[in-house]
C-alpha cells in the first residue's frame, strides 16, 4: 500500500470561514445550504446558491475542493428541498456531495451518475457489509466513518472495502452513533435527522443564578456550572445528570476530539482523509484548527514527529479526548 498524504477536509459555516479554511491550507472544504437539507442548519449559518458559486470559484482557484453536505433525511411527502440541493450541487460543479439517506443516495446515483458521492457520518456505516452496500448500490466513493471505531478496527475495515475512508480528527464529538440519535428531538422536537439541528439554540436557555450558570434545553436542566468551571454546549450527551445517586457526565464530559498526535497511526490504518468538525464555529476557530492540522499532516507525510500543538483555547470545556479511537473510551 502506498502511503499518500492525508487529505484535510475543513468546515465552513460562512463564505468568510471558507476563505479562512482555504487560506489556512485546507485540501477540501465542506459546507451546506442554508436550510434543513444539512445537519448544521443553525441560524445565521451556511450558504445560498450564489455564495456557493463564489466559494467554489475561490476554492478552485487555490486548488481546494468543495464538498456539499446534504446529510439530513428528506421529509416524507416533501423531497423537493433535498433533490433540488443535489441538482444544484451538480449544476454548480461541487466536487462531491455528502449524503446520508438511502432514498437520496438512490436519487443522486440515478439522476447525476457523474456527481461524486460521499457517505455522511449520519448514515452510520460502521462495518464492511454496510459500507460495501452503499458502494455497490449507489456508487459511493468515500465513507465518513462514525465516531464509534478504534484505530485498529479502522485499519481492519480499510482492508475489506473498496472505497476511501474519512475520519474525524478534531472538534465536537458525538458520543452516540451519528444519524441514529433522537435525544435532541425527545427534548425539543428538533433533531439532526429531520431538521438538521441538535440541541437547537432556539430551545436553549442560559440562566445565571448568582455566580452559577444553568443551561436548559426545552424543559430540562442539562447542566449547571460554578464560576470556576468552563461551560459547554447544552447538548444532551454532554450534560450533567444523576444516575444511581451519583452526579456525573454520564455520556461524555464537555470535551473536544483531538487526535493530532495520532495522524501517523491513521495513515498506517489506510485512512484517506481527515475531517475537522465545526461548521457552526467562527472563522478564528477554522483558521487556527486548519493551520495546526495542515502542519501536522505535512509533518506526518514527511515522517517528522507531529509534536505537541496547543488547541486548548478552541476546545469545548477546554478539554480534549481521543474518543472512540482508543478502546478504553468505551
Amino acid at each position: 500500500m502506498t502511503t499518500q498524504k492525508l487529505e484535510l477536509v475543513c468546515p465552513a459555516g460562512t463564505p468568510a470561514a471558507l476563505r479562512a479554511a482555504v487560506d489556512s491550507g485546507a485540501d477540501a472544504v465542506y459546507l451546506g445550504f442554508r436550510d434543513e437539507t444539512n445537519a448544521r442548519n443553525f441560524p445565521g449559518l451556511n450558504f445560498n446558491r450564489e455564495e456557493l458559486a463564489d466559494g467554489l470559484r475561490y476554492a478552485h482557484q487555490k486548488g481546494a475542493k468543495v464538498l456539499l453536505a446534504i446529510n439530513s433525511f428528506p421529509e416524507a411527502g416533501n423531497p423537493g428541498p433535498w433533490t433540488k440541493a443535489v441538482d444544484d450541487a451538480a449544476r454548480l460543479g461541487v466536487d462531491a456531495v455528502i449524503l446520508a439517506d438511502v432514498g437520496l443516495c438512490d436519487y443522486a446515483a440515478r439522476t447525476h451518475p457523474d456527481l461524486r458521492r460521499h457517505l455522511s457520518v449520519q448514515a452510520s456505516a460502521s462495518n464492511p457489509e454496510a459500507i460495501n452496500f452503499y458502494a455497490r448500490e449507489f456508487g459511493v466513493r468515500r465513507v465518513v466513518l462514525p465516531r464509534v471505531l478504534t484505530v485498529a478496527e479502522i485499519a481492519d475495515l480499510n482492508k475489506s472495502i473498496p472505497v476511501e475512508t474519512e475520519v474525524f480528527v478534531f472538534g465536537g464529538l458525538c458520543v452516540m452513533a451519528e444519524g441514529r440519535c433522537a435525544l435532541s428531538s425527545y427534548a425539543t422536537g428538533k433533531s439532526p435527522n429531520m431538521t438538521g439541528v441538535c440541541s437547537p439554540a432556539s430551545h436553549v436557555r442560559y440562566v445565571e443564578e448568582g455566580d452559577r450558570l444553568t443551561s436548559r434545553l426545552g424543559e430540562f436542566t442539562i447542566n449547571r456550572f460554578d464560576s470556576s468551571e468552563n461551560a459547554g454546549y447544552p447538548t444532551l450527551c454532554k450534560g450533567r445528570f444523576v444516575a444511581a445517586g451519583k452526579t456525573s457526565y454520564l455520556f461524555e464530559d464537555p470535551t473536544s476530539l483531538n487526535v493530532i498526535d495520532m495522524l501517523p497511526d491513521l495513515m498506517a490504518a489506510g485512512v484517506t482523509a481527515l475531517k475537522i468538525e465545526g461548521r457552526q464555529r467562527g472563522r478564528a476557530y477554522v483558521a487556527q484548527a486548519v493551520a495546526a492540522f495542515r502542519e501536522a499532516v505535512d509533518r506526518a507525510a514527511a515522517g517528522i514527529p507531529v509534536g505537541r500543538v496547543d488547541l486548548t483555547s478552541i476546545t469545548e470545556g477546554r478539554r480534549q479526548t481521543a474518543g472512540s479511537y482508543e478502546k478504553a473510551w468505551r
Binding site: 459555516g13 470561514a17 445565521g44 436553549v204 487556527q288
Partner: protein
C-alpha cells in the same frame, strides 16, 4: 435590571476609560453609531441577510466594562444602533442580551476570536433567545468586519496617517490590557475563591433536596390508585 455579577470581574482598560466616559450622555454618541450602521449596511449587507431566519430581532449588547449598553435593531432596510446609559431601561421586546468585556466583543465582531471559545471560557453570555444570539454571532462572524479598515474606507484620502495613529493606539491598548490582567488576578482571585466554596456547599445541599424530591414523588405515585 441589575445583573452585575460576573465570573471574571472585569478590570480592563476599557473599564478605566469607562469611568472617564461616565458623564458622557449617550445622545452624544448617536451620530457616530448612526454612521457605523450606515457603513455596516454598505460594506457588509450579508450580515442582515443572515439574520433573516430570526423574526424581527432586537439585541441588547452589554459591554460589561462600560457604563453604556447598546440596542441593535438589524432591520435590513434600516438597521439602527443606539446607546443607553447604565440606568436607562432597555426598550420593550429585547430578543437577546449579549454580554462580555468590550475588547472581547470587538474581537468577536472582527472574527479574531471564536464565539464558542469565548462562551466556553465564560467570558461571553447570551440571555433570552439563544437562537437569535447565535444567529447574530454567526452573521457577524461571516461578514469579515474590520473596524479599522471599515472606518478608514470612509475617511478617503486621510487614510494613511489615520492608519498609523490607529496602529499605535492598538499596540498601546494591548500592552495596557496585559498589565491590567496581572493586577486583576492579584486583586480579585482571593475573593473568587471564597465564593467558590460557598457555591460548592450550596450545590451539595441542592442535590440532597433533589434526591428527596424524587423519593417522595415515587412514594406518591406508588400510593396513587
Amino acid at each position: 435590571m441589575s445583573n452585575t455579577s460576573h465570573t471574571t470581574p472585569p478590570l480592563t482598560p476599557v473599564l478605566i476609560a469607562g469611568f472617564a466616559m461616565r458623564p458622557l450622555p449617550p445622545a452624544l454618541l448617536q451620530p457616530f453609531l448612526g454612521l457605523a450602521m450606515r457603513l455596516l449596511q454598505r460594506r457588509h449587507p450579508g450580515v442582515f441577510e443572515r439574520l433573516s431566519s430570526v423574526d424581527a430581532p432586537l439585541f441588547l449588547v452589554d459591554p460589561v466594562d462600560l457604563p453604556l449598553r447598546f440596542v441593535l435593531d438589524p432591520d435590513p432596510a434600516m438597521p439602527r444602533l443606539s446607546a443607553l446609559a447604565e440606568d436607562d431601561p432597555p426598550p420593550e421586546g429585547i430578543t437577546a442580551i449579549i454580554r462580555g468585556p468590550l475588547l472581547a466583543l470587538i474581537d468577536l465582531m472582527e472574527g479574531r476570536i471564536d464565539g464558542d471559545a469565548l462562551f466556553f471560557s465564560r467570558q461571553l453570555t447570551i440571555e433570552g433567545d439563544t437562537g437569535a444570539g447565535v444567529a447574530l454571532r454567526n452573521a457577524v462572524d461571516g461578514a469579515e468586519i474590520d473596524l479599522v479598515e471599515d472606518v478608514l474606507s470612509a475617511l478617503g484620502p486621510a487614510r494613511a496617517p489615520a492608519r498609523r495613529a490607529l496602529g499605535v493606539a492598538g499596540g498601546l491598548l494591548d500592552r495596557f490590557a496585559r498589565d491590567m490582567e496581572t493586577l486583576r488576578g492579584a486583586v480579585v482571585a482571593p475573593a473568587m475563591q471564597k465564593a467558590e466554596t460557598q457555591a460548592a456547599a450550596l450545590r451539595r445541599l441542592e442535590e440532597k433536596v433533589a434526591g428527596l424530591d424524587k423519593a417522595q414523588r415515587r412514594q406518591r405515585r406508588a400510593s396513587t390508585p
